[in-house]
Amino acid sequence: MESLVRVTNPLLDVVEILLEAFDDGRRELHGWAIMKAAARSGPTVYGVLDRLEDCGWIAGRWEQQEPEHNRPRRRLYQLTPTGAVSARELLASRRPDRRPRPRPGLTSGTRLRPLLSPDFP
C-alpha cells in the first residue's frame, strides 16, 4: 500500500464526497455519481480514485446486476474504515472550515441537508 503522495483540490473534493457517503449509512458511489457530486471531470475523478485505491483508502466492488442486463457493470466505491479515519484527518487538516457547498442540479440531497439545519449560519 502506497502513501498518499499529493493532496490536490480534486482529491479533497472526492474524499469529501466519499466521506459524506460513508457517514450517510456507508453508501457506495459509482464514478458518475462522484463526478456529479464533485463537479469534476471524468479523467480527474478517476485519477483521484486510482490514487485512493493505491493507498487503500477506498475499496471497490462490481455492482450486482441481472444476467439479462447486457451492459457493462458499474464499479461502486466506498471508503475503507481506515481510509475514513485518514480522510477525516486529512479534511480536518486541509479544510478545517469546510462547509457543504450547494450545487443545484449537480449534487445529492446529503450535501444540501446541513444547509437546511437551524444551526447553519
Binding site: R6, V7, T8, W32, S41, P72, R74
Partner: protein, 310 residues
C-alpha cells in the same frame, strides 16, 4: 435554392442529427477503451477500468459522451508522455553540475553544437554574399554539408544507443547535409540548402530540447514560435526575392537583414536547447517534493504553474 434541394438538405440534416449520437457513442467507447489501454499498465486495473469506463459512458448524457471520452484520451496521452519522460529521467542518477554539462554535451548538445557551427558558417556565407568578403560559397557550403553529415553520423553512433527514436535524425541529417553540399554548385540550390539546413537545425533544436516548453513560458512557447516565424519569413523572402548571388530585385541590405535574422534566430534556438538540456538533465524529481508537509506522507498540491516552471 430550390424547394427540392431544401427538402433534401432538411432530410439529410435530420438524418445526421439522428445518427450523430449513435456515432459519437460508438466513437466514445472506442476512445475510452484506447485511452484505458494507453494509461494503465497493470492488467487487473486495466480490465476493471475498461469495463467501468464503458459503464460510465453509458451513464453519461448522450451529449457529454464524446467530450468526456476525448478528455480521457487526452489525459491518457499526457500520462503516457509523462511516464515515458519519468522513465528516461530515472535512468540517469542525480548529477553534479560538471556531469550535467558532460551529459548535455553527450545528449542534445552533441547535436546542437555542430548545428551552431553550421549556423556560423551560414553567417559567413551570408556575409560573403552581401559584403563581398570573397569567401567561395561553394567551399563554405561544402564544408557546411560535411559538418552536418559528420554531426549526423556522430549522432547515429552515440545517441541512437540511448534514444532510438533519434535515429531518424541520421537519415534527415545526411540527406540535408548532402543537399547543402550539392547546393553549393548553384546559387538557387545554395539558398534552398541554406533554408533546409536551418530548418533541420531548428527541428533538431526543438526535438532534442523537447523539454524546452517546461522551462518557462517565454522560452517554451514564445521562442519556438518566434523562431519558426523568423525562419518562415526568411525562407519566403529568400525564395521570392530572387537569386542573391546573381543580383535579386531587392537591395543587398535586405539580404543582410534576412540572413542575420535567420542565423541569429536559429542560433538562439540552439542556445535555448542547450541551456535547457544543461538545466534539466540533472533533475530527477519535482523540487517541491522535498518541502515538508503539515500532513504526514503528503505534500502541497502541484499547480500547473509548477509544472511549467519545472
Amino acid at each position: 435554392m430550390s424547394r427540392g434541394l431544401e427538402a433534401f438538405a432538411g432530410f439529410v440534416a435530420g438524418l445526421f442529427a439522428m445518427e450523430y449520437f449513435d456515432i459519437t457513442g460508438w466513437l466514445a467507447h472506442k476512445l475510452v477503451r484506447w485511452s484505458v489501454r494507453l494509461r494503465y499498465r497493470e492488467p487487473e486495473r486495466l480490465a476493471a477500468r475498461e469495463e467501468e469506463l464503458a459503464a460510465l459512458i453509458n451513464d453519461l448524457p448522450r451529449l457529454f459522451r464524446l467530450p468526456t471520452a476525448i478528455g480521457f484520451a487526452s489525459t491518457a496521452v499526457v500520462c503516457s508522455l509523462m511516464r515515458h519522460r519519468r522513465a528516461r529521467r530515472e535512468t540517469y542518477p542525480r548529477l553534479s553540475p560538471g556531469e550535467r554539462a558532460v551529459a548535455a554535451l553527450r545528449g542534445p548538445g552533441l547535436v546542437l553544437a555542430p548545428a551552431l557551427v553550421l549556423f556560423g558558417l551560414e553567417f559567413a556565407v551570408a556575409a560573403s554574399l552581401i559584403s563581398g568578403f570573397g569567401v567561395s560559397s561553394l567551399a563554405v557550403a561544402a564544408l557546411a554539408g560535411l559538418v552536418m553529415g559528420l554531426a549526423a553520423g556522430l549522432l547515429a553512433v552515440v545517441e541512437v544507443l540511448a534514444a532510438p527514436r533519434l535515429a531518424a535524425g541520421l537519415a534527415s541529417g545526411l540527406t540535408l547535409g548532402l543537399l547543402i553540399t550539392l547546393g553549393g554548385h548553384s546559387a538557387a540550390g545554395f539558398v534552398c540548402g541554406l533554408c533546409l539546413g536551418t530548418g533541420f537545425g531548428l527541428g533538431i533544436a526543438f526535438a532534442a530540447g523537447s523539454t524546452v516548453r517546461f522551462s518557462s513560458r517565454i522560452i517554451g512557447i514564445a521562442l519556438p514560435g518566434l523562431l519558426s516565424l523568423i525562419f518562415i519569413a526568411a525562407f519566403v523572402v529568400l525564395m521570392n526575392g530572387g537569386d542573391p548571388l546573381n543580383g535579386g530585385s531587392l537591395p543587398k541590405g535586405f539580404w543582410w537583414v534576412a540572413g542575420s535574422w535567420l542565423t541569429f534566430g536559429s542560433a538562439a534556438g540552439c542556445v535555448a536547447g542547450i541551456a535547457n538540456s544543461v538545466a534539466g538533465s540533472g533533475r530527477t524529481r519535482h523540487p517541491r517534493s522535498s518541502q515538508p508537509s503539515p500532513f504526514p506522507g503528503t505534500q502541497d498540491p502541484i499547480t500547473s504553474a509548477d509544472i511549467l516552471r519545472s
